[in-house]
């Protein structure tokens, strides 16, 4: 399994490609934009995007779906029924999907948005805007923040400390470091 990053200047968001070592059908997570650089990355590695995983439907994470759908016949997975006017395969908490032999576990972590999903793939956690290095996602109000922190505690904290975190914005991290150094999560640590 290989993992590739793409950073989009529009929305400052990360897009990830996961595929087999020697090309073939691949997974793309959060196509915030579909630009020439991302297309080159896909094509140079002989990938065909067959599955698109959406962490949540904010524009910096899905805007590229329209262009992407013109190039690749990809199945789109999300929590909402409709993303960028495209029908999607709806996911819910606890679902497991298999994309080209790669197993994807779906975690629903609400708070940043009502449709936030986190994808757990072989020890890698794609958190969208739920959890980034050194911070949790922004929320509209204190209720949403409490919901987000509670969801992180229930869904993400039980995962192994060595779990690597690949957020929608900013650098990668790992769960152990977030528990130790993320100021937003220190309240959870104190509660334990």
């Amino acid at each position: 399994m290989k993992l590739y990053f793409h950073f989009a200047l529009i929305g400052f968001a990360n897009t990830y490609i996961i595929g087999p070592d020697n090309g073939g059908d691949a997974i793309l997570i959060d196509p915030g934009t579909m630009d020439a650089e991302l297309l080159t990355l896909i094509e140079q590695n002989n990938y065909y995007i067959r599955h698109v995983l959406v962490t949540h439907a904010h524009s910096s994470h899905v805007k590229g779906i329209t262009t992407l759908s013109k190039i690749y016949d990809a199945r789109i997975y999300a929590k909402n029924f409709n993303v960028e006017s495209r029908n999607v395969t709806v996911l819910k908490d606890g679902d497991t999907i298999t994309c080209n032999g790669i197993e994807v576990e779906v975690l629903e972590v609400q708070g940043h948005s009502s449709d936030s999903l986190v994808y757990h793939i072989n020890g890698l956690l794609f958190t969208g805007d739920v959890l980034a290095a050194g911070r949790v996602g922004n929320t509209e109000n204190s209720f949403s923040r409490a919901l987000l922190l509670r969801s992180i505690r229930e869904k993400i904290y039980p995962l192994p400390n060595r779990t690597l975190i690949f957020p929608g914005h900013g650098p990668p991290s790992l769960l152990k470091a977030e528990k130790m150094f993320n100021p937003d999560l220190q309240l959870l640590e104190k509660d334990d």
Binding site: F7, A133, G134, P160, G170, P171, S173, A177, E178
Partner: protein, 198 residues
């Protein structure tokens, strides 16, 4: 990606060494295995998909090396030369660096969370989208470097200089800074206090 197999020793949280079933602490002969790893690294300038956690490096010259998706977590580096290195998606969390240089390097999407740096230099480097959460840095320099979107949250910085750096979107939340200089840097575009920009 490097193999995410865990060390087969019960209750060991570390990743197994590439090509082995145990981590470097629990292989049959850790010293021999460590030497094999160092020899392997010396044999080529290009490395990818490796897991060599807990390794000790002393005086190695990795200048102009290219490491892609490699894991060197929980390791110890003394007087190691990483200058002009290219590190992409590399993991060094909880490692210790003493008298190391990363000058003129290109570091992207890499994780140094929980590391300790003493007398290290990162000057004239592109260190973007990298994670320095909770680092302890003493007498280090990042001068003339691009630190775009890098994260120093909860770090402890003592006598660390960021002269003439790009720190746009860099994060210094909850960091302690003593003898730290941002002279000629765009520190107003960095984040020092809590807000919500994600």
């Amino acid at each position: 990606m490097f193999d995410f197999s865990r060390c087969r020793k019960s209750e060991c949280e570390l990743f197994s060494v590439t090509g082995k079933e145990y981590c470097l602490h629990h292989v049959d002969n850790p010293e021999e295995c460590g030497e094999d790893i160092r020899n392997y690294l010396r044999s080529s300038y290009m490395h990818k998909d490796l897991n060599f956690s807990c390794i000790t490096m002393d005086g190695e010259d990795f200048s102009s090396y290219n490491f892609t998706v490699c894991n060197f977590s929980d390791s110890t580096f003394r007087k190691v030369d990483f200058s002009r290195c290219r590190l992409k998606i590399c993991f060094f969390q909880y490692s210790t660096f003493t008298d190391c240089t990363f000058s003129y390097s290109d570091i992207k999407y890499s994780v140094f969370a929980g590391c300790t740096f003493s007398h290290c230099t990162f000057s004239h480097s592109d260190i973007v989208h990298s994670n320095f959460l909770g680092i302890q840095a003493d007498t280090c320099t990042f001068n003339n470097s691009d630190l775009y979107y890098s994260n120093f949250t909860s770090s402890h910085l003592k006598d660390v200089t960021f002269v003439d750096c790009n720190v746009k979107k860099a994060d210094f939340l909850e960091s302690t800074r003593k003898g730290v200089s941002f002279k000629y840097s765009n520190y107003e575009e960095a984040r020092f206090e809590q807000d919500t920009t994600v």
